[in-house]
């Protein structure tokens, strides 16, 4: 199983296009950090006011726009290219001659894409933390989202790590949704558009599902002390439903 996961990782990362996507992502993160450096403040997009950017809040504040790009456009490129692309090009017909059980191919692909997502997340976390310490004013306190009580630097570490963990989980929700869609639409063009349309319109049913397009505010709400039951219910429910649809479809699909 480890060998097939490793093979999937190589298939993802040995491609020049994946590396270009990764470099473009790094440029995007740097550009957004630079824009915060120029302005010195961050205007939150949902009318929550303006925040002064410092070393403790940069790693999560910068993700307001980065997460929007990542979830709406960048990660679906990787997911659809790997899931639909391999089915559509016929690569799986050869690939599945290898002596593994059918579900292991599915699991390995999803685990490899999850690991790639973690790489994207980890990169932005590292860049955010380093840029915060090097280029932004050092502060001894920071304000959590929606709170007026100052928190200590040790809280900041936990807050940032929790933010990135939940963001990674949201990315995995998107991955599972993509996997369910791609197994029904093996043509990449249609798969990408259907995922985009679902992401844009699903939140009309349940507001927290806006996480499939613009997750920042929902994650911040989920991080509050009182939590956000709707967020966890939507994320967990969508992952479960998508896994069931994707797995059932994969087991029955004629490759």
């Amino acid at each position: 199983m480890l060998a097939i996961w490793q093979s999937e990782m190589e298939r993802i990362w040995n491609r020049k296009s994946t590396l270009l996507l990764y470099i473009a992502y790094i440029f995007l993160v740097v550009a957004i950090i630079w824009s915060h450096k120029v302005t010195g403040t961050k205007v939150l997009r949902f009318g929550e006011g303006t925040v002064v950017v410092n070393n403790l809040n940069l790693p999560w504040l910068m993700m307001s726009e980065v997460a929007l790009f990542l979830i709406t456009a960048i990660l679906p490129i990787l997911y659809v290219d790997q899931l639909s692309g391999d089915l559509y090009s016929g690569a799986y017909r050869l690939y599945m001659l290898r002596p593994y059980r059918r579900f292991q191919f599915w699991l390995a692909k999803l685990l490899a894409l999850s690991a790639s997502t973690v790489i994207f997340m980890g990169t932005s976390l590292l860049i955010g933390v380093f840029a915060g310490w090097l280029f932004f004013p050092h502060s001894s306190t920071f304000l959590k989202y929606g709170s007026s009580i100052a928190s200590s630097p040790s809280d900041a570490v936990l807050y940032i790590l929790s933010f990135y963990l939940i963001l990674t989980l949201v990315c995995l929700v998107k991955l599972m949704l993509s996997s369910a869609v791609c197994l029904f639409m093996s043509r990449p063009l249609f798969a990408y558009i259907v995922i985009l349309i679902l992401s844009v319109f699903l939140f009309d049913l349940f507001r927290p599902l806006i996480m499939l397009m613009d997750p920042f505010q929902q994650i911040m709400l989920a991080l509050r002390v009182e939590g956000s039951f709707n967020f966890w219910m939507c994320a967990g429910g969508l992952v479960l439903v998508s896994i069931m649809i994707s797995f059932t479809r994969w087991q029955k699909k004629i490759i």
Binding site: A31, L68, T72, A73, P76, D81, P188, L189, Y192, L196
Partner: protein
């Protein structure tokens, strides 16, 4: 959407234009990106073009015919959009008992003018998307890069406009630089052009021409010179 809060009675007055104004800079651009990826990247990367080149037409002729199909499709989709918007207005006028739902002469002219500018902006962005489509490794990358460009230009236009403000003393040049971001031109420039501002109109024409010449040429060079043997 800005129009969600507007009452139907007000919305129905100019819905054909308002509907396009709301959708032009994102939904229409994504549709154009999908068309460009389908017409160019898919055939370019799947190997279908190799068979197409066996036919007696030159590569240049095939490229221009594809571009023509793409642009005619955009025109057709715009007409469908206008007609279906007007049908919605008619349905509203029946169900909400609105008396003055028909298009007056001046409204019709304004609509034609707006749709003309919208078509020009979509032709400009279609050239750019063709360029991206020809240089993309797969359909997913083609449409994804177009999406990133579109989202990026909508989110970062304020930063870019700071750069453009260096030449704010020359309105025409300022507009040309600002409108180089086509989605910005679509949601801000086209409204200003309807007010009859000649420097805005000139800037839009310049930007559209530049896009058509530069990016169509780039896509054409790629199309006719690649060996397609991989």
């Amino acid at each position: 959407m800005r129009t969600r809060e507007v009452p139907v009675e007000v919305l129905s007055l100019n819905f054909v234009v308002t509907g396009l104004r709301e959708n032009l800079f994102l939904a229409c651009n994504i549709a154009v990106a999908a068309l460009a990826a389908a017409v160019y990247t898919e055939e370019f990367r799947s190997g279908q073009l190799r068979l197409l080149f066996v036919r007696r037409f030159t590569r240049g002729q095939i490229f221009w015919s594809k571009l023509l199909v793409l642009n005619v499709s955009i025109l057709f989709l715009l007409i469908v959009f206008a007609v279906s918007s007007q049908v919605i207005v008619e349905v509203w006028s029946l169900s909400y008992d609105i008396s003055d739902a028909g298009l007056s002469g001046s409204q019709g002219l304004q609509m034609l003018e707006y749709y003309g500018w919208a078509l020009a902006s979509l032709l400009a962005i279609s050239s750019f998307y063709c360029f991206i489509a020809m240089y993309s490794k797969s359909v997913t990358y083609a449409i994804g890069v177009c999406m990133v460009y579109n989202l990026g230009s909508l989110l970062f236009d304020s930063l870019y406009l700071k750069l453009a403000s260096f030449v704010s003393h020359i309105p025409y040049l300022h507009n040309v630089i600002a409108f180089m971001i086509v989605p910005y031109m679509q949601h801000t420039g086209l409204d200003r052009s309807l007010m009859g501002n000649s420097s805005v109109n000139g800037a839009i024409i310049t930007v559209v021409s530049l896009y058509l010449i530069f990016f169509t040429w780039g896509a054409y060079r790629r199309f006719v010179t690649d060996d397609y043997l991989y």
